[in-house]
Structures are given as C-alpha cells and as structure tokens.
Amino acid sequence: MMNHKYDNRKYLIGFLAILVVFVYIVRLFQLQVLDKGYRESADNNALLYRTIYPMRGAIRDRNGKLIVSNQPSYDIMVTMRSVQNLDTLSLCSLLGITKSEFDARMAEIRDPRRNPGYSRYTRQPFMFQLSASEISSLKQELYRFPGFEIENRTIRRYEYEAGAHMLGDLGEVSKKDIEDDSYYEKGDFIGKQGVEKYYEKELRGEKGVEVLLRDARGRIQGSYRNGELDREAVPGADIELGVDIELQQLGEMLMQNKIGSIVAIEPSTGEILCMVSSPSFKPSELTGRHRGENYNRLAAQFDKPLFNRTIQGTYPPGSTFKTAQALTLLQENIIDENTLYPCHNGFIFGRLKVGCHSHSSPISLVPAIATSCNGYFCWGYYHMIGANKYGSPQKAMTVWKDYMVDMGFGYRLGVDLPGESRGMIPNADYYDRHYRRSWNGLTTISNAIGQGEVTLTPLQIANLGATIANRGYYIVPHVLKSGQFAKDSLYMERHYVNVDTCYYNLVVKGMRQSVIDGTCHAANTPDYLVCGKTGTAENKGKDHSVFMGFAPMYNPQIAIAVYVENGGFGAVYGVPIGALMIEQYINGGLSEESQRKALEMSQREIYYGESKR
C-alpha cells in the first residue's frame, strides 16, 4: 500500500524542475539581453546590403557643351561562400583570362593582407570595368557560375579628347581614402586628379542601399521589411566649367611636339578659359580596365605627360615680369612716366653687366616695356633696393617682396585644382642666408628681369596678365564657372593689388606699344587691340619662349600666358601661339590664314633629347 516514507523526495524533484527552468532563464538573459553580438551575427547572416551606385555628375564647358559624361561598364563580383562546383576553365574562357590569372586574382581576394576586411559572405570585386561586349557572352551563362554576379557600373566617357590634366581621372579608392572618408568602400571609384578630385563631393552624388534578405543557401528572398531601410541613390551634380573646350583643343594642337603651357583667363571673372599642358594625353586613356597600364606607361615617359605644367611647373617668368616691376617702381615713386635710364646694350655697373639688345638710349618707361629693355628695369630695381627711404636693402627687399606677393606670386593662388605649386619669390631672409647679409640691389639684380631666384607657374603669369587687363585687380583663377556652389565665394571676390590704376594704364600703354611696334609685333591685328609682353627666359638649356598678353585693350575678354620650354625668343613661339589663341577666343574661330598658321605651328617641333625632364 501507500508508502509515505519517501514523500519528501517530491521536493527534490520539484526543486530540480525549478532549477532547470531558472538556469535556462539565466542563460537566456545572458544570450539575449547581456550579449549584444548575436544581433549582428544574425544580420550578417541574413541581410545583404547591396549598394546602388549613383550616376556621377556630367561636366560641361562654358558654352554648355558636354565634355564628360558616363557610359555603362560592368564589374564582376564574387561571393566566395556561394561559389560551388565552379567550372573554372569555361569561366576563364568566357572572361578571356587564363587559369593562372584567375587563380592569382582569387588568391589576392582571399589574402587578408592585401584585402583587409575580406569575408566569405560578402561580395568581392573580381574584375573591374568590362565593356558591354566583353561581358555579353558571360551574361548568357552566368547561371552556371553560382557566386559570380555582374554589377552595372559606369565609367567616364569623354566627348572631346582634350583637357586631360584639368579634368583629371577616376581611380579605385586607396586604403587611405577609405580611412579618411567612411563614405567609400573597397572597390569604389574616386576622383584622383583635376576637377574630378577637387569636385569629388559634388560630382559623386550619394550612394543608395538596398537591404535584401538572403537565405541559408545564399539565395535572395526579397527585400527586408518591404524596403523600409532602403535608400535611393542621389545622382551627382552636373558641373559647368569656365573652360572653352574648342580653345582648349586649339591650344593642345598648337602645343603639339613642344613642352610647355598655355593658360587663358577671363579677366573679369577669373574663369580659366583653357589650361593646356604639353605633352598631354587622351583623358579616355585613364578610364576602364587599361587605366593601370596606361598610367604606368605615361608615368615612365621622359617628358612627363602626367605633370600638369600649368599649375605644377615653376619657371623663370623672364621679361613678362618687367610689367610687375614697372608697377612696383611707379607706386613706390622710384620712377615716373618720364624717368629716363641709359641702356647701351645693357646694364653695366662696374664689372656687372646685364646684356640688352640695341635700341635708343636713354629710354623712358613705355618704350622700355615695348622693347623689353633690360637696362631700364635693372636701374629701377637697383635704385629701389638702394633707396634711402627704406633704410636698408633688407627693408627695401621686404617692400618689393610684399608687392610681388600682393600680385599673386610666391604663394598658391588657390585654383580649384589639386597640386598647385607656389613658385618662388625670394625675400630678405633668403638673401641674408645665402650672402651672409652682405648683398644689395646688384647682387639680386636678376629679379628685375624675371630671372634668378624668381619662379612663377604659368597660371601666375596668366593671372598677372589678367590683373593688368583689369587695371589692378584679379579674381582667383578657377576652372569652375562662377556661381555654382556655395564654397566658391573665393572665386567671386576681387583682389585689388596695392598699385594705383593710373600706373596700370601706363603698363598697358607699354604693352600696347609692344604689339604695335615692339617685340609682340606679330600679334598685331586690325580687328581688336592686343596688348602683350614677351619673355625670353634664360635657363640651363636654350631660352624659354614666353608671351603674356590680353585683348581687347579696352574691356578685355581674355588674358593669356604662353610658355614654350626651350622655344628661344618670346616672339618665336609665345607671340604667334598667343595671337592665335586670342583670335580663336575673340572671333570664335580662326581665319583661313590663321588656320594655316595654326597648322604650321602645330607641326613645328622642338627637340628635347631623351633625358628625363
């Protein structure tokens, strides 16, 4: 019958049941409430974040002509986890690659050192930027290769093969790009140079995302929460440049077979009308799959076609610099319009001689500019540095340097392109260090004629032309057409140089005289009044041929600097190229005569040897 001896054991069994449930609830608390990592693991399993790439903004010229647009391209992506029963050989043949290339690429993707953040579960880029024709055969048979997908992307399309340096290019983001801006992910493209880099944020738009559900076998099961978390891509902004693409094309043609630069600026706005750096290359060469090899080839070339000489090259400005000297001397009352200086084939002071060509002597300012008299400007500079009113050559030098800086030399102008150089304007400290404080105007006399320590970028020379054209102010030169983005207020403000307009008028008079019967005679035309100044810059090799000018004299539309390395006298290359560019811009085209001249000029070749420059 009933035995009650062991009745207490019911408590033990009840206790066991309570213990089990208690322990499990504690465990649940630990897994669900304390440990936050599981949510992420579950999301990593099931949620697939697919990026929707926005259309990059197009680039147009000042007349609304489309320069850069987009064309479709295709990336092949691979998700390692989903790859199974891969028929490697047929995939390789469809892609036109070899088995060993395939293996190398797969190994590269899997290598955590070369591909940090690699995961078997996420899509990895396998091949980039294939064209529609390259992808067509694979597209048909893609179902045979689970784990491989084709992703639609776009690459740049160039309507004109011109302006490569200014436009810049797109390349895959570097590790540093990703670290600097979390917007980017591996495999994204980013502006590497030029406008593409400087206006990257405006052009790129905003990536969108689509959150998809992926089941345990890697199949997509539709969108997560009915697309609640999806975000549409925002296309990039179109931008308009100040450049005149036809002027740019002409400039590139004229500079063929020569090394040098042409920069043209609209003086009233500071918009850069063209920016030619020669030698150049086709912008399309740095797009698509062959970007890397083309880049390497260009980088290895002795004449450095990738180097944007217009803003990165620093050169002695030669005689174009005399205009800046004239303005400084006038403002400082060292000279006036009627001051006469002697020049008998040069500036001679004791054993020091700066040569000049033959012309009448003594000479006043306007003819001195027109004939590009070295003697005149050496005397003026000598008198300024030695003038009593400053107290010492150091103090005089500082005043002189401040004028130069005020005119936009010695520092970066602030153009809206990456990589600008500042050039060089020496100051008193510089000479104190080099000459142990014992120096004077004679020691540094070459500054007077734009030689010696002074170097400018072609952009700074063109900006000098624009300042003179404006009779005393400039707007920081920029490639973007003014007034498009909030951040370009810098490109709207006038920077007034601390020199009176009346002195500018004198310099303009000299530059006009130079075209009428001086060194720039070849640029003279009855159609409009051209003002100009040649330069013949001495250097280790043959002289550089320089021209700086603007036109028309009243209400100027274009200021220009032409710099042809080792081209000899300014009148040989600088003046004719400048004249043709001015004609193209002001008349909207070239006369038949000029077309012939342009063709001839484009065929003229300067031999530079083969050594690296």
């Binding site: 019958m1 009933m2 035995n3 019911k10 499990y24 649940l28 669900q32 599981y38 949510r39």
Partner: protein, 485 residues
C-alpha cells in the same frame, strides 16, 4: 453512467488542460513564425506545415477525448498487455521502417508517418506504474529494482536498435520516478558523479598541469574522488574521527606529491593519487569488518568504481560512441569549434536566440529561422523561433509555462491515492521535464544536440499524439481518484 461521466468531466484537472492548451497554441504560432511562407498564403491549407500542425492539433483533441473516455481500470488492468504490444511494435519497427536520416523509427501509415517510440513511453509508464503498484513491491529490494529497470531497459534497447539514441535516453527519466518510490539516492549520486567525471576528464584531457607530465582532467577527477571518500564516510557513517583523518591524509599526500613533482622531480602525480585511493579503499574494507561499519564497503566500492570509470571514459568516448555523437559532445565541451559542421546547428541556434534581444524581432520577423539558417527550425529547434521572434520575454514565458505545467503535474501526482496513479503521474512529469531539459538545453548550447522534440510545441503529429495519450491517461486516472477508492 451519465452521472458518472459528468463527474469525470467535472473532476478533470482543467488547470492542466489550460496549461497544455496554452503551450500548444504558443507552439502553433511558433510553427507559423518559423515557416517561410508569408502570412497571406492560406495557413489553414493542409499543404503548409502550419496547416498540417493545426490538423494534428485537432486530432490530438479528439484523441484526448477518446483516451479520457476510457476508465482507468482498463489501463490498470491491461498495462502489461499494452506494454507487450508496444514492445512488439518497437521490435517490428526495426524491420518494417524505411530508413530516414539513418534511423529506422518511422512507420508509414498512408498519409502520415508515426514514430512508435513516442507511444512506447505511455506503455512503459503504465507497466512501471502497475509493477510498483503491487503490494509486494519494495524499492529497497534489489530484485524488484532490477525488474523495474528491466521494464525500462527493454524499450530503451529497442529504440537504440532503431538508431534513435536520443529518444532512448528519454527513458532515463524513469529513474527519477523510481527515486520518488524509494530508489536509493546513491543511484542519482553515482549518475551525477559519472556525468561530472565524464565532462571534467574529457574537457581538460589536453590541459597540462604546469610543466608536470599529467593533465588537469585526470588530476581533478582523482582529487574529487579522493576528497569524496571522507565526505561519504561522514554522510554515511557519521564517523567524524575517521573522516577527518582520511581528509588530512589525502590532502597531505596530494600536496606533498604536487610539491615534489613541481619543484624536485616532475612525475605523474595521478599515479600517486590512484595508489592513495586504492590504499584507502583497502583500509576501509579492512576497517568495515573491524568496526562492523558495512557502509565503508560501499564507500570503498564507489571510489574504486570511480577510478575504473575514469580510465574507461577515454575508451568509451573514443571507441564506443559514434562519430557524430563524439562530435556533438566535443562541441558542447568547447573542444571542437567548427561552426560549419557539428557546431553549425548550435551556433546558428544561439545566434537566433541571442539576436532576439529582450523583446524579440516580432512575429514572423525572425531572419535566422525563416531563412533556414537554423535547421529543423520548427521541430527540434523550434525554441529558437520563440527566442528570435519573441525575445527574452517570450522564451521565458514559455519556460515558465512548462514549469507551471510540471509543478501542477507534481501536485496531481502527489494527490493520487494509489501508487499506480502516483507512479504514472511522476512518469508523465519526469518525461516532460527531461524533454524540456534536453531540448531547450541543446538550443541554448548547454546540453549536447539530442534530437528530441519540445512537448506539445514542436511540429509533428507523432510526438504531439504520444504526449497527448501519455497525459490524457493521467488526467483520467486523476479524475477518477476519488471514485475508485
């Protein structure tokens, strides 16, 4: 008759019925939540799993009514016949069943497949209840215990032969039933010891002790065994002096051995421990005759058995267990970490539960379960669905429902006037507890992966009906408790 039936209905424990109904409804919603069909497709259609489960549930209600309409006298009188019939069915299943995932436990019956092992539980419970109910049964009688064990071991062996080790292990729950009836606590003690030794010996088998030439697992197990000797002497014989001196000797010998091995000559201290335990055991045998304290014999026996067991664990683990079983144990012990293979299920189920957070992702919003990252997400691993979609709140609620049900059954079992009713009631609650313990434990990564369903919750007709019959018989017995005596 009419009157009596009305009494029966009134006397049915409706609290239990309500708890089971609640569990079943939670279960059905979890089956819906884990199915990959969208809610819009017809859930009542028989072509979907939620639809089928609904049909199984309705059948279970009918089945329950049928079972409860039969008087307990029938079950009482025909216990052995029912038992024998089911043993024959289990045996036949081995030969008749088609192989399914390596096991031969499913019988095809037209539109449905049934697993006889699920139904053998109530037959075994009936037989055990009947056996312990007889007047001559004495839980202290060795031959009675052996006979009772036989009743349990027969279905266990047959189910193991069907290659359903998991389902066979459920029959271990009957040990607790016998314990309630007076089976010596030594059995539970030894069982618990066996599990602890097994886990410690395996988990720390490859961890060396400093620079010494033996491993932590063996050392700790032997230390436990040697320290338990004085403890057992104290508990069993209340001999304070002997217990304390044994404790001092053990501690001193082990400490000296460790110091010698650590600082002078490294040697395998476990040999010393074995020698110590055997020496003490021999002394206890000698002492038991001298002091006429026979319990010391038991202590000596346990200690020597423990040592033998320790040395056979390796053998059992490496040579008797099958690959997948070994692998599951390794994963639980944290010795094997391969989230792709053996650990995949557990890993994914823990991700599912953990990702549910406090309040859950919401009904039918579980990505882990609905996108099939968790395998068997509506059968053995259905608790994941609760964890993921209903979070800590929902899964705790389900566990508390089970606790309430089990404690209610404990209360009902204790109020039975007959041993038959009490033993049967304990069988029901112990089986339920065992299922919940193993099933939820496996999903939480606490117990090894043993494929047994969550009672009244997992998708599937066999287990639902098996539990329905098991419980319904008890409710009938309980309803008649006042009438029959």
């Amino acid at each position: 008759m009419v009157n009596r039936n009305a009494d029966i209905i009134r006397n049915i424990d409706w609290a239990t019925v309500a708890l089971v109904a609640a569990v079943m409804i939670c279960g059905w919603f979890s089956v819906v939540g884990s199915s990959s069909e969208s809610f819009s497709t017809d859930l009542l259609s028989f072509s979907t799993r939620p639809g089928k489960q609904l049909v199984w549930m309705l059948c279970a209600v009918v089945l329950s009514a049928l079972v409860m309409s039969i008087t307990q006298l029938f079950y009482n009188s025909y216990s052995y016949i029912i038992y024998v019939a089911f043993m024959i069915l289990l045996l036949a299943t081995i030969f008749l069943a088609h192989e399914h995932k390596g096991s031969r436990s499913w019988l095809d019956l037209g539109p449905v497949s049934l697993q006889p092992a699920e139904f053998a539980k109530f037959a075994t419970a009936l037989a055990l209840a009947k056996f312990t109910d007889k007047y001559s049964f004495n839980s202290q009688n060795f031959s009675d215990i052996v006979k009772a064990a036989g009743l349990i071991l027969i279905p266990m062996s047959l189910i193991v032969m069907q290659n359903e080790t998991g389902s066979a292990l459920v029959y271990l729950a009957f040990v607790f039933v016998l314990f309630r009836e007076g089976l010596t606590g030594l059995v539970l003690y030894l069982g618990a010891m066996a599990v602890v030794i097994f886990i410690v010996a395996l988990k720390y088998a490859d961890v060396p002790v400093g620079q010494m030439p033996f491993n932590v697992g063996k050392f700790v197990v032997l230390l436990i065994i040697s320290l338990l000797v004085p403890a057992q002497c104290w508990v069993m014989q209340h001999d304070r002096k002997t217990s304390l001196s044994l404790l001092y000797v053990t501690a001193a010998v082990t400490a000296v051995g460790m110091l010698f091995s650590g600082f002078i000559i490294p040697f395998d201290v476990t040999y010393l421990q074995v020698v110590l335990i055997v020496t003490i055991s021999l002394w206890l045998v000698f002492h038991s005759f001298k002091a006429i304290a026979r319990k010391y014999l038991v202590v000596a026996g346990i200690s020597v058995l423990g040592v033998v067991y320790l040395f056979s664990v390796d053998y059992v683990f490496n040579d008797i267990l099958q690959d997948h079983q070994r692998s599951r144990i390794n994963v639980i012990l944290g010795l094997e970490d391969d989230p792709k293979a053996a650990g995949y299920n557990v890993n994914q189920s823990m991700i599912a539960i953990g990702s549910g957070g406090f309040a859950g992702k919401g009904f039918m919003e579980g990505t882990q379960t609905r996108l099939k990252y968790v395998p068997e997400q509506d059968t053995d691993f259905i608790f994941c669905t609760v964890g993921e979609e209903q979070g800590f709140l929902g899964s705790s609620f389900v566990l508390l429902l089970y606790l309430a049900l089990i404690l209610r059954l404990l209360f009902l079992a204790e109020r039975q006037p007959s041993v038959f009713g009490r033993v049967y009631g304990y069988s029901v609650l112990c089986i339920l507890l065992f299922h919940v313990f193993v099933n939820v434990g496996m999903v939480l990564g606490i117990t090894p992966v043993i494929g047994i369903p969550l009672p009244f919750f997992s998708y599937g007709g066999s287990s639902l009906w098996g539990f329905t019959i098991l419980l319904s018989i008890f409710l009938r017995i309980d309803a008649e408790r006042l009438a029959s005596y």
